[in-house]
Symmetry: C2
Amino acid sequence: MKNKGTRGERELFHLLWNTKEWGVLRSAGSGSTPMPSPDLLASNGKRYLAIECKVIGNTNKFFSEEEIQQLLEFSNKFGAEPWIAIKFDYIGWYFLQPKEINKTKNGYSITLDLAKEKGIQLKDLLKCQTL
Amino acid sequence: MKNKGTRGERELFHLLWNTKEWGVLRSAGSGSTPMPSPDLLASNGKRYLAIECKVIGNTNKFFSEEEIQQLLEFSNKFGAEPWIAIKFDYIGWYFLQPKEINKTKNGYSITLDLAKEKGIQLKDLLKCQTL
């Protein structure tokens, strides 16, 4: 699972980088320090996107309350927009904001149906001509 | 040397984090991707600091032309201020901007004398009350 997540992060890193308009930084943080940091931080010098990346093989992804809280906390400090990037295998990437995802008893979840309904594509997130 | 650099990065990461006012992210980038990224990116939601960290045991640190170029390039894309954080063992941290450091034949250098003359302290860099 870790490798899958890392592959997803790297894929998205390169997609962002290849736009030329956006810079992107991969965090060493997750796990190695108790300080919350998102998987990726991207910027075009005007907007800052704090991005948590997930790659899943099924159609429902669970998030703990803490995971979402940390994304919001970091984003707030950094003046960044909080985003969840979720890739469904063989389907593709969707980008959602924490406020759009399902609240469950112990946290949050994103289903494929929700992603299709509320999620946006990378080119729309970036409002980018080169994607 | 790698471990020393990593220790320096972590030390500075914690110094920044402990201010409470600033968020900070450690980059996984250096080395693992061909895309330039600074060791640390810090922000208080208004200012963004791209920081390259060095820890040295002697009194003169050399930087390649490319290293400085990449810091400037990343900072430009991210709308961040480029900073070099240099720690001289048993003396402490100094923060300098690339434009302030010495140009040499093949790159740049920071001597302890230059750091003492031009460098500023973290609390002055952050204009921070809690340091």
